[in-house]
């Protein structure tokens, strides 16, 4: 992962059990073949989507889904892009996910500063209570939130979704960052305080710069988690102008205007941003996926 050149295990040479070698030789190829087969099965849907998104409707009708496209045809992708105003959906998704990632990280830092550095009384209770934001099913919050949003004029605005997800995402962020900051060297903070720094200055000039690596993990997670959210955006963002990518793609599923190639085009446009983020954030992600487990 750390180098661009694929790292290869040095050849181990013959194992010290020559009697068992022949059987094992065949078995190991069988195991590898089986594992590759599983990988192929997992990847086939992606291949099918790509193959059919660039196929003309006539080609699909006469040759089916399993053949390669006779020629590359961008009509269904372009047509779908235009029809749902996909640029707008991308913009909405980036705006919402980006705002939540920033807002959620800031809120997590504020909470974790009080709980991890400040050791506020009852911090364990605070942590557990905050975590329920993540634990509770969104269905058990949605109707009152929906009603509230309508009352204050935030219904069908991207801001409503941003605020809600900042709170929900920061639950995990507070938990993770508090455990990191609880191990923060006290001497640094004491030294800064003796030098006359206020708590706010300690937060901005000492704690924030030193917790940047964790904040980067949180930012990445919040961005991708929010991008992938479906339920709340489905309910709060009803007008076309405010919808996110997953909602636009998901809601159109099964509608009459969606023929086979249009559907694979929509799937492709839903898949692509996710894969782009995965490639961009891969290193942060692999570092972070297991962070929750070991902290």
């Amino acid at each position: 992962m750390t180098t661009l050149v694929a790292y290869r295990e040095p050849a181990v040479g013959p194992r010290p059990a020559p009697a068992r070698a022949p059987r094992r030789g065949r078995l190991r190829w069988l195991v590898l073949a089986l594992l590759i087969l599983v990988g192929v099965v997992v990847l086939v849907p992606f291949a099918l989507v790509v193959m059919n998104a660039f196929k003309s409707a006539e080609d699909y009708a006469s040759n089916g889904a399993l053949s390669f496209p006779r020629r590359l045809d961008f009509d269904s992708v372009v047509e779908f892009w235009r029809r749902v105003d996909f640029s707008r959906k991308l913009l909405n998704s980036v705006l919402i996910s980006g705002s939540v990632a920033i807002g959620g990280s800031v809120l997590s830092l504020l909470n974790a500063f009080a709980l991890g550095i400040g050791r506020v009384k009852g911090r364990y209770v605070f942590l557990v209570v905050f975590l329920t934001a993540n634990l509770l099913p969104q269905e058990s919050l949605v109707y009152p939130l929906y009603y509230l949003a309508k009352e204050v004029g935030l219904y069908d605005t991207r801001l409503s979704v941003i605020i809600i997800f900042i709170v929900i995402q920061s639950a995990f962020g507070t938990y993770l960052l508090t455990s990191v900051l609880a191990a923060f060297p006290r001497q640094i903070i004491e030294a800064a305080t003796i030098d006359g720094a206020t708590k706010w200055q300690v937060l901005c000039r000492v704690v924030f710069p030193l917790s940047r690596p964790t904040l980067a993990v949180l930012f990445t997670f919040f961005f991708i988690w929010t991008w992938n959210e479906f339920f709340l955006p489905l309910i709060f963002l009803v007008s076309n102008d405010n919808q996110t990518v997953p909602v636009a793609v998901g809601v159109l599923q099964g509608q009459r205007m969606m023929d086979a190639t249009a559907q694979s085009a929509s799937a492709l446009l839903g898949i692509l941003p996710a894969i782009v983020f995965f490639l961009i954030f891969q290193r942060t992600l692999t570092r972070g996926v297991t962070a929750g487990a070991l902290k």
Binding site: P45, A114, G118, E139, Y143, Y146, G270, T286
Partner: protein
């Protein structure tokens, strides 16, 4: 100057104020309101009328409610049981077998392949499979026709017999990469000498798998099982996109059932009761798990 020096010190509490206020407005307040609405009849406009426990009595007699929780168990099988078991096998084969006997690059590449569905928004994963399983132009049926198995073609998501297994298969596809990545990360902690020592003692692969690999990555297994059970209880997106709970109640899950009552039937009180039950189930599952974990930690200290 004197006044400023004697300014009140609130400690670190002020830094918690935004978090607490937002939590009250976005989580606690709405949750309490939802619990209360569960005891009322309300169509979303006007004043709710108090019903007491009527919604809950109705739930107990509602076949759709029981079907939704039965389907939740099926989701746990598809999202927790199968991925955890298969993931354990795949992860240790990749780590202990492929990475050692072949180039490590193979293990990394295969892991990435298994993980790819995990990066998709679940709704998009649903769209991919809705297209593959489509009765008239779906890839699966045209594949079966091409290899001469026309008799097997069917309306996978529209047939009450195949809808739930089809959705379960999709969920396995979505979930499988998560345990593989978690478990492989855990296996990296294991001292390779343990495997070598076991091998010298004549332990076969399965014995090493059972007594070394599984024993060493208990924390990862615990996290995977807990998080995927909760995800399975909450599942909504794939059901919305693939089947809308149908046909009938064949793939209905509690989250979708409450959504229907909230936004399609305007039966808000009943929807609130359903979602309150779901929340209670999730809280109980999480509490049991944390309890269990703490007790084991205590036991290991003795």
């Amino acid at each position: 100057m004197k006044l400023r020096a004697r300014r009140l010190d609130f400690g670190y509490a002020p830094f918690l104020v935004p978090g607490v206020v937002l939590f009250l407005v976005v989580v606690l307040g709405p949750f309490v309101a939802n619990v209360v609405l569960g005891f009322t009849r309300w169509r979303g406009v006007g004043t709710p009328s108090w019903l007491g426990l009527d919604n809950y009595r109705r739930l107990l007699q509602d076949d759709a409610f029981w079907a939704s929780f039965r389907n939740n168990v099926a989701m746990i099988v598809a999202m927790t049981v199968i991925p955890t078991i298969v993931g354990l096998l795949l992860a240790s084969l990749l780590f202990d077998y492929v990475a050692k006997r072949f180039a490590r690059g193979w293990a990394t590449r295969l892991r990435a392949a298994y993980y790819l569905p995990q990066v998709l928004p679940v709704a998009v994963a649903g769209v991919v499979w809705g297209w593959i399983l489509h009765p008239s132009y779906g890839v699966l049926n045209s594949f079966l026709e091409r290899i001469g198995l026309e008799t097997l073609t069917r309306n996978w998501l529209g047939d009450p017999d195949t809808a739930l297994p089809a959705v379960m298969a999709v969920m396995v596809w979505i979930q499988i990469g998560y345990p593989v990545v978690m478990f492989m990360a855990g296996l990296q902690r294991v001292d390779p000498e343990m495997y070598e020592a076991a091998e010298l003692d004549g332990a076969n692969w399965f014995q090493r798998f059972r007594y070394i690999s599984i024993a060493s990555i208990r924390p990862e297994i615990y996290v995977v099982v807990l998080t995927t059970i909760i995800a399975a209880l909450k599942v909504f997106g794939p059901i919305f996109v693939l089947t809308r709970g149908g046909p009938g109640t064949a793939t209905l899950v509690p989250s979708y059932f409450s959504y229907q009552n909230f936004f399609e039937r305007a039966d808000v009180g009943y929807g609130s009761a359903i979602s309150t039950v779901l929340a209670a189930v999730i809280i109980i599952v999480a509490a049991v798990f944390i309890r269990f974990q703490n007790r084991r930690e205590l036991a290991s200290l003795r």
